[in-house]
C-alpha cells in the first residue's frame, strides 16, 4: 500500500537528532509493549509481515504522531481484536471476561524467555531457478498494490543492477494478501543516485534495496 510508512525520499522531517544518553525504554509502558509484542508474536497467530501490515494500516496521522512503541502497542491491540483474542468490552474494563482460546503455538514463557528470542530463518524452497543473474540490469516494476509490499516507492520504475542473490525467502506480499508462505528469490539491487533522484542526487551515492523477484522485470 502507498502508505506514509513508505517514506524513503520524503522531505520536511527535519534533522536527525542523535541522543548520546538514550536508554532502551524511557518509559516502563514502552518496555511492556515491546515484550508483549514479542510474546504474542511467538504464538503463530501472525508473522512478521502481517505484524508490519497492521502498523502500516494505522491512520496516517496516527502513524506519524505516535512513538515507535506506541505504534507497536496499537498494532498488538488491533491484531488481538481482529483475531478475537480480546474484546472491546474487555479492553474497556481492563479485565478478561473469560478464558482464552487455544493459540496456534505455545507462546514464549518462563523466566528464561529472553534467551529464546531470535530472528527466525526465512528460507523457502525455490519453485524455479532464479530469473536474474548477478550483474544483470533490472527495472523495479511500476506497481502500486493496495495490500502489503516491501518494494519502496522511491525505487519503482527505476533501473538498477543485481548485485547479490540472497536466496529464496518467504514473499511478504503473498503472506499478507493470501496467508501463504510462498518462496521467491531475493536480490540486492543497486541503483545509482542519479537514476533515483535525477539532478538532486548527491554526488557518488548509490542505494540498494532487497527486492523479491516479482518486483523486478527486464528493462
Amino acid at each position: 500500500m502507498n502508505g506514509v510508512h513508505d517514506m524513503g525520499g520524503m522531505d520536511g522531517f527535519g534533522k536527525v537528532a542523535p541522543d548520546a544518553h538514550e536508554v532502551p525504554f524511557p518509559a516502563e509502558w514502552q518496555a511492556r509493549s515491546f515484550a508483549l509484542n514479542r510474546v504474542m508474536g511467538s504464538a503463530g497467530e501472525w508473522n512478521i509481515d502481517v505484524g508490519r501490515y497492521w502498523i502500516e494500516t494505522l491512520p496516517p496521522a496516527v502513524y506519524l504522531s505516535s512513538s515507535y512503541y506506541k505504534k507497536w502497542f496499537l498494532r498488538l491491540e488491533r491484531l488481538c481484536l481482529h483475531l478475537n483474542l480480546v474484546s472491546e468490552r474487555e479492553l474497556a474494563s481492563g479485565h478478561s471476561s473469560g478464558p482464552g482460546r487455544p493459540l496456534k503455538r505455545q507462546p514464549l514463557s518462563g523466566p528464561h524467555a529472553g534467551a529464546s528470542v531470535s530472528r527466525p530463518n526465512h528460507d523457502q524452497p525455490p519453485r524455479a531457478p532464479a530469473a536474474f543473474a548477478v550483474g544483470e540490469k533490472v527495472r523495479a516494476r511500476n506497481i502500486h498494490p493496495h495490500s502489503h509490499t516491501r518494494l519502496p516507492r522511491f525505487a519503482r520504475g527505476h533501473v538498477g543492477v543485481i548485485e547479490r542473490i540472497q536466496g529464496c525467502h518467504t514473499y511478504p506480499d503473498a503472506m499478507v494478501e493470501k496467508g501463504v508462505k510462498q518462496g521467491e528469490w531475493l536480490y540486492t539491487v543497486v541503483f545509482d543516485g542519479r537514476e533515483l533522484w535525477g539532478p538532486d542526487a548527491e554526488e557518488g551515492a548509490t542505494v540498494s534495496i532487497e527486492a523479491f523477484e516479482p518486483y523486478l522485470e527486464r528493462p
Binding site: G8, W29, P99, G100, S109
Partner: protein, 213 residues
Amino acid sequence: MSNDHDHDHDHHHEHGSELSEMQLRVRALETILTEKGYVDPAALDSIIETYEKRVGPHIGAKVVAKAWADPEFRTALLADASKAIAQLGLQQKVGDHLIAVENTPATHNMIVCTLCSCYPWDLLGLPPAWYKSTAYRARTVKEPRKVLADFGVTLPDDMKVRVWDSTAETRFIVLPMRPPATEGWSEDRLAALVTRDSMIGTGFPKAAHEVAA
C-alpha cells in the same frame, strides 16, 4: 513535526497525558492477556532484561574487533556473516541472513530501513530513537551526506556512499575501517574502539588515543 522519538520532543504539552494514557492502556492489555493465559509476566520481564542488559553493541564490537585482528575471520564474515559469527560461540544466538558490508577508503556504507526500522538487534541491541525517526528513514536514501552531517561526520569528496535499505529479512552491519596506530592490539582492546554508530555507518570507530591502554 521533526521526528518520532519515543519521548516525543515535539509534543511537550501532551507528554504527560500520552504517558499516563499509554501506561493505562498497556497495563489493561497485559492484564487481559495474562488472565487469559496467553502471556506469562515472567517471560515479559526476561525479554525486557535481555534487551536492557544483555544484548547490545558490545556483541557487534566483538565481531568487528575479531575481523580486524583475524584476516581469515574477516573473509568468512564478509562471505557469510551469520555462519562466521555462529562459529564464535557467542552467548546470545545471532539470526540468519546477516550481511557484513566493509568500509574501504573508496566506499562508505550506511544502513537504513525506510519502510519500518529493521535493524540487526541480535548484534547491536534495540535501535536508537534516531534510527527509527522519520527524518533518518526519509532522508538517508536521498541525501546520505547531509544526514551524516547531522552526526558531525564528513567524508572525503571522492569517497562513494552506499546506502543499504533493509527492505527484506536480510540484516546488515557495517565493518568499519580499523583506526590507524592500533597494530598489535588485542581483540578486547580493539573492541573498545568500535562504536554502535560505526556499525550502522553514521559514525567512525574511536581513535587509538581515545582508548585506555
